[in-house]
Symmetry: C2
Subunit: 135 residues, 2 copies
Amino acid sequence: MVEKHELHEKGLRLTPQRELVLQAVRELGHATPEEVADKVRQTHPGINLSTVYRNLETLENVGLVQHTHLGHGGATYHAAEELTHLHLVCGECGSVGDAPIDVAANFVQNLADDYGFRTDVTHFAIYGTCAACVK
Amino acid sequence: MVEKHELHEKGLRLTPQRELVLQAVRELGHATPEEVADKVRQTHPGINLSTVYRNLETLENVGLVQHTHLGHGGATYHAAEELTHLHLVCGECGSVGDAPIDVAANFVQNLADDYGFRTDVTHFAIYGTCAACVK
DNA sequence: TAATAACTCGCAAACTATTCGCAAGTAGTG
DNA sequence: CACTACTTGCGAATAGTTTGCGAGTTATTA
């Protein structure tokens, strides 16, 4: 159980709720706090939404999950180990596609070279129009 | 007055409030709805926040302004004619830098070639750590 | 220019997403 | 097993944004 160690290092605890939230994020792939809450409630109806928010934040500080902005409103959370792709959000149909981070390698390098900017391409989605909607 | 024409084409009107909102966006460069409202109120105290929201939306439909997601919560608006740069948001210090869209040309091309995805790089900010904070 | 229809505005209430305060509960340490 | 700091649930509070509605404006047509 990797997470136990990660948490204890910072004086945090591995509570049942925390395990459930982390597990839900891992199973869902990407999910908003609300979706995580729903998932967790399937087995543990009592869990509170603010607990989910707090735990997502905690797990993020510890590095077990990360959030990404896919658009307006809500952030979506990923398990840290799955964050190997960037998100292509289509403004027409709203679909979210994936692409390996490699396609951005060149871009990231440009920004580093020209501006000293260290880019995290996964944090924001890449916005545009998907192949299906371009037609 | 370009905007009058743009609006009339869609059966919309150029009201004093609309002019003021558009002018504020142009002067501010980037601004949240709230900031636009504040700016407009310096000369016209009576204007309502919801009018600003509605007019930003209207002006966006017509193509005179555009919004960008710079982070959590709020969108920020730009005059359409100024949207020639992308935004580098620093996660450490919160600063927003600019870079010409050219640095992303290669990246955009990759996405088009490999995924048929037509990218609007300006819509979402590019997240990372700025040169100053990297040190 | 009067009548009519369509568009806008201001205001207040409604919403959505997220955070906070606090008392009660509990994991982890010794 | 007791103790302490971290956590939870709950309800209320916020922030940002949207909506309903009546009154006011403007464009169009006759």
